[in-house]
């Protein structure tokens, strides 16, 4: 008993107390980890994250100036040493680009003719928002960047971000002065893509290493793709616009296509956020006076096929369209009401 008492006296000492605080803190951080895991989208966490990146923005921008200057000087010195090689490479690239330019000019003319036709509906234009990279996550398992554009500039969650070569990632958080981009290499990143010549769609999944891979759905069957084929965004899901270059297939691994990204994360200093409005189908108000128009109008049938898209406003259920097909002459107003 005496020994126990001595231990107890020691146990009330300062050291044991700080040890107890330490253990409590460890438990607290694991509880926080679990709770942030199961409610990562909770508004409290989101608000907190957004205010922290806003608060960090001035600090990061402040130190960005001198460091960019030093890096510029170092870069210029190293450029000086391999100026001959660079010149040679640039000349070759210039010759190739001239050929491409000729082809592009010819294509532009053809395209203008097509656009002049009445049947053509141009896709809605995208407004780019330019931003410079002020932060990297520099974390082995979290791949993200911070840019100095926020909600007042028109940045919204889900928007695609590109550099001069291809897709960089998507916006996941927007503060007032800064936003966070989730890079394609992050383990949480999922972007719908398609392989250009193979005509297969899949999801580009981040693997925390430099090369993400495309995973194919089981129902799609065996995917036939080849090394060197281009990967572009597919626009499925209605978040990232279709046709943004992502990368090239380098190999197959475990039934997945490993992609070498076009975007250069080590060099990306200026990026472009694409404010792209998807053509959405307006929910058609029930118009009892002329319900037959709904059946004839192609747009009325569309919502049923895209009803699963998350971004869309509640679309009319397919019920009224089917009902209208069954009885084209006498559509019942009640069926229309059910649809809404």
């Amino acid at each position: 008993m005496e020994i126990l008492g001595q231990d107890r006296r020691e146990g009330l000492g300062r050291k044991a107390e700080s040890r107890a605080v330490l253990v409590t803190m460890i438990v607290a951080s694991f509880i926080l980890l679990l709770s942030s895991l199961y409610s990562a989208e909770a508004s409290v966490f989101r608000k907190a994250r957004e205010s922290v990146i806003d608060a960090a923005e001035p600090v990061l921008s402040l130190i960005a100036g001198p460091i960019a200057y030093i890096q510029g000087v170092v870069g210029e010195v190293s450029d000086y040493f391999n100026v001959l090689e660079q010149n040679k490479a640039l000349r070759a690239e210039n010759a190739e680009l001239r050929q491409w330019m000729e082809e592009a000019l010819a294509l532009r003319k053809t395209l203008a003719q097509y656009e002049a036709l009445k049947a053509f509906h141009a896709p809605p234009g995208a407004r780019p928002i330019n931003a410079s990279v002020i932060g990297d996550s520099n974390d082995a398992f979290t791949h993200a960047m911070l840019v100095n554009a926020g909600a007042p500039d028109g940045v919204m969650r889900g928007q695609a971000v590109i550099d001069d070569k291809g897709l960089v990632g998507r916006i996941v958080e927007t503060g007032r002065a800064a936003s966070r981009i989730l890079l394609l290499t992050d383990a949480q990143s999922r972007v719908p893509v398609f392989i250009e010549d193979a005509n297969v769609e899949g999801i580009l999944v981040g693997r925390t290493n430099a090369r993400p891979s495309i995973s194919f759905t089981l129902s799609a069957g065996p995917a036939n793709f080849q090394k060197g084929q281009r990967v572009l965004t597919s626009g499925a899901g209605g978040v990232v616009p279709r046709g943004i270059p992502v990368g090239e297939i380098v190999e197959e691994r475990d039934g997945e296509a490993v992609v070498d990204l076009y975007a250069d994360y080590a060099r990306a200093r200026l990026v472009r956020i694409i404010d792209h409005k998807f053509p959405t189908v307006e929910p058609i108000e029930a118009a009892p006076a002329e319900p037959t128009d709904r059946r004839q109008d192609g747009a009325a049938v569309l919502p049923s096929s895209v009803a699963s898209l998350p971004a869309l406003p509640p679309a009319p259920a397919p019920a009224p369209a089917e009902g209208a097909e069954d009885e084209p002459a006498q559509p019942e107003p009640s069926a229309v009401d059910e649809g809404d």
Partner: protein, 170 residues
């Protein structure tokens, strides 16, 4: 010096390790991209936690370590609580071996840090692998910890000087 100024100076001394840790977090969030992006930024806060836990634990209480870790989670965009857990577990393990490290040669302490960094990397990898339900590649974290272990002697020497000359004086 007035009493108030003395109080402020004392507060500044006490808060210095925490502020250095937070500066390390800012450095981690900054796009340094050393060596053309191939050399990851060292995890400086881990050096701070290791150093002050051994030599002057009262300057870096658990609450400060928690704060540093939380700031890092917020800036990196990872799950909240991850880095506090990593740093606090490191602090716990280092604290339990404190009497061994005190008064040892710097080479021995360096090896000790290498073990601590490896432990931290294993905790990180385990938690992230559990969270993503895949076995994540170890290359990235191994390289980052190797960089941190490489720069440890320089920062350790700087911190020792700072602690002896500035923080301990008075």
């Amino acid at each position: 010096m007035s009493r108030r100024a003395e109080g402020l100076a004392a507060l500044g001394r006490i808060a210095t390790p925490t502020l250095i840790g937070l500066a390390g977090v800012i450095l981690l969030a900054f796009p340094l991209r050393l060596g053309g992006g191939y050399v990851p930024t060292p995890v400086l806060p881990l050096v701070v936690v290791f150093f002050w836990t051994i030599y002057a634990p009262s300057y870096l209480p658990a609450a400060s370590v928690f704060l540093i870790g939380l700031a890092q989670d917020f800036l990196s965009g990872g799950p909240l609580g991850l880095w506090p857990a990593v740093y606090l577990v490191t602090q716990y393990l280092v604290d339990s071996q404190r009497s061994y490290f005190l008064g040892r040669e710097q080479r021995v302490v360096w090896i000790g840090f290498a073990f601590a960094a490896t432990g931290a990397a294993i905790v990180l990898w385990l938690v992230m692998s559990l969270m993503t339900r895949t076995l994540l590649p170890l290359g990235g974290i191994a390289l980052q910890m190797a960089t941190t272990i490489t720069v440890f002697p320089f920062f350790s020497a700087a911190f020792r000087r700072l602690h002896r000359r500035v923080l301990r004086e008075a």
